[in-house]
Subunit: 345 residues, 2 copies
DNA sequence: TTGAAAGCGCTAACAA
DNA sequence: TTGTTAGCGCTTTCAA
């Protein structure tokens, strides 16, 4: 057990320079002569010196930490987001401090984030109390609600056009001649669900249709499977189902095919929301609304770093356009109609 | 922009106690009278005081940070691991500092981890140079290679019984009467792949069979799909395929059904490795070797925290038993034979 | 139990 | 360009 901590002072001594010279050598853009630089670097290498990021963070007030809070990782949309976000953040010399939350503990987690002096916060599908949002704003820490928004909040938000996307995919179903269209909702109090549902309802109304039925799946596989079972327990069956996200749609498709013994899309059409990788897999070929995760992340990172740099927090609400990923889980309208729907986005 | 940083000194002043009293109040197990405690807590609440975790980490030498490095999150085994690991770590008052690596940048990432003074490192499907491993050991930082091992390394490792698992699932195929069994490998230099492949080969040899064919899928969907296409381009077809992980197996199944127009398991049996959630989905129902992710994580966390507490790093290599998740993607042997295979694990 | 004092390893004025 | 100096906010002896 050596446990010998090599400090900048040790390096300075060996290199025969001041401790600040060492610091400067490791601070990009600081003024050091090439000669000193080399001497320091040599000494550092010899001793195996590694700057202490915590000490640096403390004094400079820049931790280079971005907190990311996610509620769960089993809906594959989030791992994808986490991966891309993490890479983007790393590219700028920052690191992700990860927080996995359970419902209700979000505020505690945010407290923890603040203790770690993170410079920015991303809340993926979760939100914080308005008092905490205020505290973050006061402290100058930008907060981005990812895939969710709260109108009253001080936090910025990045979402995709959930209303428009849902309208589009519902239009697709209606144009293809479906008349008994059911909706399986996600978590009812989430903004994504509310927007997707209202887009669905708008399209239905415009099409002169009433929702065939509406059930709640709470964004879980089990909830969705349960909802699907109820939908098919009587003979009064829907001819299409709009499911509030892909993760639930897969479970719904499983129930339809394996339990109800029906065929997709011949007997029932199913559409989802998100366009997670599995939606393209052969086992599902799900027609769904594509959320441009890459664009959403780009926007998130932009908000974060602009505000970190400027040192001022300001609320922004970005809505990224959604598009349609048309596959084979839903009966399609004629080519012209389809085109019109996609264009009308 | 308030940016007012409330320090323990501010709290001390308001509470009319010394700054150390404030520190003690927020240090579990420190000796403070109930009266002082309350005064401090009150003052802290009034001022919105939040201990600075970085300052605490610096002085105490305990960052309460665990670095987790993952290469990618699209194989669903890893998000699952990340979620569980993160929760386990949080339960102990630690936080995960996330690193997403590209091949070859691992050592750089480890340097960064060390700069952040993390107390432990988990490398999921990646490894570090032996010199760095030595450095970590010298610094007293436990390193766990998760789902991979390097015999020569100083790092601990937690894997499942890849050899045994592969043998089991191959036995299953052989007992069911398959004779032309192909193998689609993952990343060739990974220990998981090597072990799974050698388990496969052992079972084949014991069964008096030669591998029908062996291709490399590199643990990616694209690689696996490509391998599967080559496997079915001629009429000399396999009657079963052992795929080195589930993620690839799904792609293989897609090619078999959608491109080759064959039926699973009637024309070809397919088995995988990992038992990710999608393996149980209706679209695949993949018979696969189950890696007990929960146990693996338990062991990982145990190694980490035992060594953090003891302050001494010592190499441990844990192999967690694997089991079979039998579904319908592979033709089955008779019930007794099946039982014998499962028992023989 | 409490407070004073000495740093943890570093950055950032400031003067030279 | 360089070194000196003064902290960042906290924990942890040490004495009282």
């Amino acid at each position: 057990m050596a446990r010998e901590t090599v400090t900048s002072e040790d390096v300075a001594r060996l290199a025969n320079v001041s401790q600040s010279a060492v610091s400067r050598t490791f601070t990009p853009g600081a003024s050091v002569s090439e000669r000193t630089r080399q001497r320091v670097l040599d000494a550092a290498r010899q001793l195996g010196y590694r700057p202490n990021a915590l000490a640096r963070a403390m004094i400079s007030g820049r931790s280079r930490l971005i907190a990311v809070l996610v509620a769960y990782l089993d809906n594959h949309f989030y791992p994808q987001v986490l991966e891309q976000l993490s890479r983007a953040v790393q590219e700028r010399g920052y690191q992700v401090l990860l927080f996995l939350t359970d419902r209700g503990t979000q505020d505690q987690m945010v407290q923890k984030m603040l203790q770690y002096q993170v410079e920015g916060i991303v809340m993926a599908s979760a939100d914080m109390s308005s008092s905490l949002a205020r505290e973050c704003a006061d402290t100058g820490i930008p907060v981005v609600l990812f895939n969710r928004y709260v109108t009253s909040s001080l936090s910025s938000s990045v979402t995709s056009d959930n209303v428009g996307g849902a309208r589009m995919v519902t239009d697709l179903l209606i144009s293809a001649g479906h008349r008994r269209i059911a909706f399986i909702a996600g978590t009812e109090d989430s903004s994504t669900n509310q927007d997707r549902e209202s887009g669905f309802l708008q399209a239905m109304e415009r099409g002169g249709l009433l929702p065939f039925r509406r059930l709640v799946g709470d964004y879980t596989s089990e909830g969705a499977a349960h909802a699907a079972r109820r939908l098919f327990e009587s003979d009064e069956r829907p001819d299409a189902i709009v499911v509030a996200n892909d993760h639930m749609a897969f479970a719904v498709m499983d129930v339809i095919r394996d339990e109800a013994g029906l065929s997709i899309p011949d007997d029932v059409s199913v559409v989802g929301f998100d366009d997670v990788p599995e939606a393209g897999w052969g086992g599902y070929k799900l027609t769904t609304v594509r959320q441009a995760a890459d664009v959403m992340i780009e926007e998130t990172v932009k908000i974060l770093f602009e505000q970190i740099e400027k040192g001022e927090v300001e609320r922004r609400a970005i809505i990224v356009p959604a598009s349609l990923s048309v596959r084979t889980s839903a009966r399609l309208p004629s080519a012209e109609k389809l085109e019109r729907i996609i264009e009308g986005a």
